[in-house]
C-alpha cells in the first residue's frame, strides 16, 4: 500500500506537471510543427487562438481534474496514515 501510494504521488505529479506545461506552452507545438498553422477557428488563425484557449479553459479543466484526483489521493493517504497509527483500531 505504502509503495503504491508513493509511486502514485510521483506519477501524478509528473503527469500533471506535463499537462500544465502543455497548456501554458502550446504555442511551441505550432512552432515545432508549422504544418499545424493552417485554417482558422472563431475567425482567428488557429496558432493564435488555440494557445489562448488552452491557456485558459484547457488549463481550467486540467486544474479541476487535478483538484479532484489529488484531493482523493489525500483522502487515500489519510486513510493509510490513520491505519498506521497505533491508537487506531
Amino acid at each position: 500500500m505504502e509503495d503504491k501510494l508513493y509511486k502514485k504521488e510521483i506519477w501524478l505529479t509528473i503527469g500533471f506537471s506535463a499537462l500544465l506545461l502543455l497548456c501554458g506552452h502550446s504555442a511551441m507545438i505550432f512552432r515545432i510543427f508549422p504544418g499545424l498553422c493552417k485554417g482558422t477557428f472563431w475567425g482567428f488563425p488557429t496558432e493564435y487562438i488555440v494557445p489562448i484557449l488552452l491557456g485558459w479553459f484547457g488549463l481550467a479543466v486540467v486544474c479541476v481534474i487535478m483538484a479532484l484526483i489529488l484531493n482523493k489521493f489525500d483522502d487515500e493517504m489519510e486513510t493509510y496514515v490513520d491505519g498506521q497509527s497505533p491508537d487506531k483500531p
Binding site: E2, H25, A27, M28, R31, P51, I52, W56, A67, D74
Partner: protein, 545 residues
C-alpha cells in the same frame, strides 16, 4: 500626439481613486481588528476560502503591467508577446502542485520558512536575500507605475504622484496585514476585470466588431481586416528555442515567487488551495484575454486611423479616451491602479514575511511573538518606504526589467525549493554554492550590469533574461544535484549533509505519518534531470541570432 487623448477632467480621476482608496482603507481597518497572531498577520489565519483566494491569487499575479506594459509590448512584439504572457497562468497551478500544498501542510508563512526547516540558517539567509531583492525590484516597478498613473489621472508631477500613491498604498497594506491584503486583492480583481472587459466591449463595438458582447474572445471577425492592415500581426516570428526559453526563465521563476506562494499558504486547507487554483485560472484567464484584446485593438487602432500612439504604455487609456466617456476612462485607470496595489500588497507582505519572520527568527530566535509581529509590521512599512524612495530616481539596474528578475529567481531559489521538497539528498552547502554562483553568473552575463559580458547580445532575449536563464537555470539545477551527491559522500563535509531531522521534514510535508529512508531518495531521477539540464545548457550556449 498622445497629449490630445489625455484625461481632461481631473476631478473624475480624483473621485474614482478616492472611492477605491476609501474601500481599501475600510477593508484594511476591518482586517486589522482580526489580526492577533503571526498566523493572522502572515497567513490570514490560514482561513481564506477558494473563491476569495482564487480572486486574490489572480489579483496578486496581475500587476499594473496587465493594463500598461503588456499592451505596449503587444504593440511592439505583437503575437509572440501574447504567447509569453499566456504561460504565466500556469505559475500558481505548478507551484501548488510541486510544493504549495506540501508547504501549506507544514503551515509555512513563506517558501523561506521551508528552506529554514529543510536546510538550516545559512541557506535561509542566502535565499531570503535573493527573494527580498526580487520583491523590492517588483514593488519598485509597481510604485513607478502608480506614480505614472497618478500623473496621468490628476495631471500632477510624477514625484508628487509617487509620494501620494506610495504613502496611501503602504498605509492600508500595513494596517491590514494578510487579512487585508487578501480581501482587498479579491475586491481589486473584480474592479480590474470590470475595468478591462466592459469598456473594451464598447471599444470593440465602435471599431466594428460583431463580437463586442464578449471582448476577450469574440473579435475574430476583425482578424481578416487586421491581416490586411498588418499582415505580420499573427506571425510567430521567432524560432523554437525562443519559445523553449520561456520555460526556464518565465515558468520556473514565478514558481518560486514568495508573494504567489503565500497566497496558496493562506488557504483554509490543502484541498481548498487546489480549488482556489481553479478559480484563479478562470479569473486570470478572463483578465489576461482582455489584455490580449486591448493589445490587438491598440495595433488595429493605430493601423486603421493612422494615428501614432507615442506612449504605448498608455494604449488602453488612449483607446478609452478616444471611444468612451471620460468617466469610463477614469474608471479604467482606477482598474490599473487596483492592479498595481494588489501586487504591491503581495510584494510587501512577502518582504514582511521574509524579513520579519524568516530572517528575524534566525537573528533573534528568542524574540517574543508579539514583538516579532511588530517587527513584521515595521518590515512591511520599511519595504514600502524603500520602494517609494528608490522610485524617485530608480537605479537603472533595478527597473530595467521585472521580467529579467524572474530568471534570477529561477536560478537562485527554484532549485532549492523544488529539490528540497522532492529529494532527501539535497545538500545545504550545495544549495548555497549553486544559488550564489549561478545567481552571480546570471547577473554577469545579462546586458544590464556588465554590458561588455553579455550572453545573447543586447537584444530582447538577453534583456528579458531568456538567454541567460537558459544557461544558468539548468546549470543551477545540475550543479546543485551533482554537488549534493558528491558532498553527501565526503566525510569532511558531513555537517552539511541532510540530517535525519531534515529528511523527516520531507516525508512529513508530503503527508506521511511515518519515515521511510527509501522515499524521495536515490540518484537515478536526479541524474536524469542533470542529463536534461546539460542538454538545455549547451543549447543555451549556442549564439542567438
Amino acid at each position: 500626439m498622445a497629449e490630445e487623448y489625455a484625461l481632461q477632467n481631473v476631478w473624475l480621476g480624483i473621485g474614482v481613486v478616492a472611492i477605491l482608496f476609501g474601500i481599501f482603507y475600510y477593508v484594511g481597518w476591518w482586517a486589522s481588528r482580526k489580526t492577533a497572531s503571526e498566523e493572522d498577520f502572515y497567513a490570514a489565519g490560514f482561513s481564506i476560502g477558494p473563491v476569495t483566494n482564487g480572486l486574490g491569487m489572480a489579483a496578486t499575479w496581475a500587476s499594473l503591467a496587465t493594463f500598461l506594459g503588456v499592451i505596449a509590448l503587444i504593440q511592439k512584439l505583437q503575437v509572440p508577446f501574447v504567447y509569453l504572457w499566456i504561460q504565466w497562468a500556469i505559475s500558481i497551478p505548478l507551484l501548488t502542485l510541486l510544493y504549495g500544498t506540501s508547504l501549506r501542510r507544514m503551515k509555512a508563512f513563506t517558501p523561506a520558512s521551508f528552506i529554514r526547516s529543510r536546510y538550516g540558517k545559512s541557506s535561509t539567509i542566502v535565499i531570503v536575500c535573493w527573494m527580498a531583492l526580487i520583491m523590492v525590484m517588483y514593488a519598485l516597478g509597481q510604485m513607478i507605475g502608480l506614480g505614472q498613473a497618478f500623473e496621468l489621472l490628476f495631471g500632477i508631477p510624477y514625484n508628487i504622484g509617487l509620494i501620494i500613491a506610495g504613502i496611501a498604498t503602504v498605509g492600508f497594506i500595513t494596517m491590514g496585514g494578510m487579512y487585508g491584503a487578501s480581501y482587498n486583492a479579491a475586491f481589486q480583481m473584480i474592479v480590474m476585470t470590470i475595468a478591462m472587459i466592459v469598456p473594451m466591449g464598447a471599444i470593440m463595438k465602435a471599431m466594428g466588431s460583431s463580437g463586442w458582447w464578449f471582448p476577450p474572445l469574440a473579435y475574430g471577425d476583425m482578424a481578416p481586416s487586421m491581416l490586411e492592415k498588418i499582415p505580420t500581426f499573427f506571425d510567430m516570428k521567432y524560432d523554437v528555442r525562443w519559445y523553449f526559453a520561456l520555460i526556464p526563465a518565465f515558468t520556473l521563476g514565478p514558481v518560486a515567487l514568495p508573494h504567489l506562494a503565500m497566497r496558496v499558504f493562506t488557504s483554509s486547507s490543502v484541498k481548498s488551495a487546489r480549488w482556489a487554483v481553479v478559480w484563479f485560472v478562470i479569473f486570470l484567464g478572463l483578465l489576461f484575454s482582455g489584455s490580449y484584446t486591448a493589445g490587438f485593438a491598440g495595433n488595429y487602432f493605430a493601423a486603421t486611423t493612422g494615428r501614432t500612439i507615442a506612449k504605448p504604455d498608455q494604449t488602453l487609456l488612449i483607446l478609452n479616451v478616444f471611444y468612451n466617456p471620460a468617466l469610463v476612462a477614469a474608471f479604467v485607470m482606477g482598474g490599473a491602479v487596483a492592479a498595481g496595489l494588489s501586487t504591491i500588497g503581495g510584494n510587501l507582505m512577502a518582504i514582511a514575511g521574509l524579513v520579519g519572520n524568516d530572517l528575524l527568527s534566525i537573528l533573534a530566535p528568542r524574540m517574543e511573538t508579539k514583538k516579532r509581529i511588530k517587527w513584521g509590521y515595521a518590515a512591511l512599512a520599511i519595504g514600502g518606504v524603500v520602494a517609494i524612495l528608490l522610485a524617485f530616481n530608480p537605479p537603472r539596474f533595478l527597473v530595467t526589467s521585472i521580467l529579467w528578475a524572474f530568471g534570477l529567481l529561477a536560478t537562485t531559489a527554484t532549485p532549492g525549493i523544488l529539490l528540497g521538497v522532492w529529494w532527501k539528498e539535497a545538500n545545504k552547502l550545495a544549495l548555497m554554492i549553486s544559488s550564489i554562483l549561478c545567481g552571480v553568473i546570471y547577473i554577469i552575463i545579462s546586458p544590464h550590469v556588465l554590458p561588455s559580458i553579455s550572453l545573447g547580445g543586447t537584444g530582447l532575449v538577453a534583456q528579458l533574461g531568456m538567454s541567460g536563464g537558459m544557461v544558468t537555470v539548468p546549470l543551477s539545477f545540475a550543479l546543485f544535484i551533482l554537488c549534493s551527491i558528491a558532498f553527501n559522500r565526503v566525510p569532511a563535509l558531513a555537517d552539511w549533509a541532510p540530517s535525519m531531522e531534515d529528511k523527516m521534514v520531507v516525508d512529513k510535508i508530503h503527508g506521511w505519518g511515518d519515515y521511510d529512508e527509501k522515499r524521495y531518495n536515490g540518484i537515478g531521477w536526479p541524474l536524469l534531470i542533470v542529463a536534461i539540464c546539460c542538454a538545455v545548457f549547451f543549447w543555451g550556449l549556442v549564439p542567438w541570432t
